[in-house]
Every structure is written in C-alpha cells, then in structure tokens.
Symmetry: C2
Subunit: 191 residues, 2 copies
DNA sequence: ATAGTGATGTGACTTGGTAACGTCACCGTA
DNA sequence: TACGGTGACGTTACCAAGTCACATCACTAT
C-alpha cells in the first residue's frame, strides 16, 4: 500500500480512525495521518477532506439522501410521522452489523473531543434540515416538518447510541424501531 | 479608551462585531480585533475568549440558566409543555427591544459564516441538553424531556429569527408566544 | 515515442491557538 | 513614603491547521 496505490481516500479514513483511537484526536497530526495512509502528505489529505474533522464525517450526506428518498417514496396517504418512520427504517437498515465496532470507536472519539462534538452537532442539524425539506415537498407545513424531522433525527441518534454502547446483538434497525415507539409514547405525555 | 482602561472584554466584543460586520468574519484577524479594542493584543483576546468564534457567543450560558431556573420554579401541577412555555417566556422577556438591532447584525454574520453556524448549532444543542436536564429533575422521562426541550429551543430560535428579520415592532416575547402556539398546533397534525 | 491527464509532492506562507516569562498599574500596609 | 503583592496586559517564540503556486510522477491513448 504505497504512494500511488488507489483508494487513497479510504486509506486516509482508516489511518485517521486508527490514530485517533490510539492517541486521541488532538494529539494526532494531519501529517501523521497522511504518512500512515501509505506515505502521503498533508496536501493530499486536504485534497480529499476540507478539514481535519471532516475525515470522520465524510459521506454523511448519503444518510440525508436515503431519508429524503424514502420520504419522497412514501405512500400518498402517509402521515408525517409515518413518512419519518419509513425514512428512519430505510436509514437504519443501511447499517450492517459489521459496522457496529467501527461505530463504537467513532462514537468514543467524537464524544471525547469538543471539536468533533461541535462538528457532529452541525451535521445533525444539516441532516434535520434536509429531512424537513423532504417533508415540506410532501406538503407538510414548515413547523410541522421541522418537528417531525427532529423526531426522526433524534430517534436515529438515540438508536445509534444504544446500538454502539449496549451489549446485545440487536440490529440498528431494531433499536430504531424501539426508540421510535418510545418517542411516540413520550410525545403523548407531554401536556 | 486605551490600554489600561477597564471593560476590555466588552470592548473586544464590540470591536469584533463591528469588524465582522464591516469585513466579514474570515477576513478579520484577531490582532485586528484586539488592536481596535484599544491597542490590545492577541494574548489578551485569548485571555477573555477561548477562541475566535466564542467572542460572538460568550455569555450564552445565561440563557440556559434562565430557562433552567424557570423550569425549576414552575408550579407543581405543570405539564412538561407548560414548564417549557414558562421557561420560554422568561428567556424571551430577558431581551429588551434595544437589542434587536445588534441581534440582526449578529444573525447576519453567523448565517453567512459556516464556522459560526457550526458553533451556533453546538450552542443550540448544549442549550437543549441543559433544558432537558432541568425537565428531568422535575420528573420528566428522558425522551420526553428531550422532546419538550427541543420544542422550547426551536420555539426560541424561530422566534428570534422572526424578531430580527421581520419588519414589525413586536417584542421577542410576543413572537415566542406566537411560535409556541403554532408549534403546538403543528404537533397535533403530525399523525 | 509523445502528449495529455489526474493524482501526488514541495515549499512558502498566513493565521489560530498555546506557553513561558516579563511588565505595568494599582492597592494595602508598614 | 516605601514596599510588596496581585491582576491585567505585553513579548517572544512556537506548533499545527489550512491555502496556494508550481513541479512531478504514473498511466493512457494516439
């Protein structure tokens, strides 16, 4: 795996995750990452990722696309919450069990690094906005779309946290289903 | 207003807001800010703010405190949404009309700068978490508290946006009241 | 062979952010 | 009046993130 091998992007991601897990995010230099990814350099890193944080969140727009498409394809008669539910199922189902270990590592690093928590919050907000936009083009009102989207996002993140931190062998989709039900129950008790 | 005058912190904030509004955030250097704030230096800036973004968000923990206290003091019989409502009123009422112009400027800069949008999202998440925590210590369930807190935060931010961008002379508290009602109405149509 | 193309490297630069150490104003006390 | 202490501030030097212009390498097609 040397300089001119293909998949530099994937190698960079892998190297970054490894180094962050070993030494922590702040203690790891971009040069280090590039070096471990087959003797690359800082410049190449920045050709693939806009900044140091992004290497851990790259490709996350796919999640928004999955949810948006599921919402667009939901049956005519679906309520906003039903659209969100099918979007949530679609997204959660796209995570194979094998990714659980990586997810766990990822989550640990992010949770322990303010800089990454910040980026995570930002991504989460963007994802919520994209979902709300998809709901709006299905005719849902602005505020209604925002609330429903927020519920979906919250369900996903909560499910992801349980998936990566709880001992069982449940699927992410199963967790998501559960959380969604709990969320709807909690909704009923609010007032 | 020279080097050893008091209120360096306030002078730094004022200088930063001015410069960001004039030249944009990225085009403004920390040395510039410190210089305009009465011949100060970078070091002094960092003694008052942990990083360049923070100068625009400093003192925002107060908002969380206001909401938390209102929730703690809500009547025994209050539902979660009623607690959030009184917290929202308390927070919105703490913004005098005079701050509207500053708020408008602030918002413009933040909206046009990715780096600041990110910090804003992070602050918003922290605020939501603090509110949820306050609700939980009033006995609300974890997920219920998170949803209710999210609704309150969303109401506040939406109200703030309307306050700073709409032409009328309505108070922030009035906007917040309206948004809260709309939010509850939207909630009912979700499923 | 050669020319083009895309991925990579080099080197120099700006700026955010940190740290060690020195300096100035002010205040209380002897 | 002199003295010492204490914050707030400055100086200097440094590191790493991020940008840019320009050079180089591998590969492919003509």
């Amino acid at each position: 795996m040397a300089r001119w091998d293909p998949n530099a992007r994937e190698r960079l991601i892998r190297a970054a995750v490894e180094l962050f897990a070993e030494q922590g995010y702040e203690a790891t230099t971009i040069n280090e990452i590039a070096q471990r990814a087959g003797g690359l350099t800082k410049t190449t890193f920045f050709r693939h990722f806009s900044d140091k944080r992004e290497v851990l969140f790259a490709g996350q727009e796919i999640h928004s696309r999955i949810m948006s498409e599921a919402i667009a394809e939901a049956p005519e008669s679906a309520t906003p919450l039903e659209m969100v539910k099918s979007a949530l199922d679609a997204l959660a189902s796209s995570f194979p069990q094998e990714r659980r270990e990586v997810g766990r590592k990822l989550r640990t690093v992010v949770v322990n690094t303010p800089e990454l928590r910040e980026r995570s919050a930002s991504k989460r907000a963007a994802h919520t906005a994209a979902t709300a936009e998809a709901l709006r083009s299905r005719g849902v009102s602005q505020l209604g779309a925002e609330i429903a989207a927020e519920l979906g996002t919250r369900a996903f993140y909560t499910a992801f946290e349980r998936w990566t931190t709880s001992p069982g062998t449940k699927t992410l989709a199963e967790h998501a289903h559960e959380v969604f039900l709990e969320l709807k129950a909690a909704l009923a008790v609010l007032e």
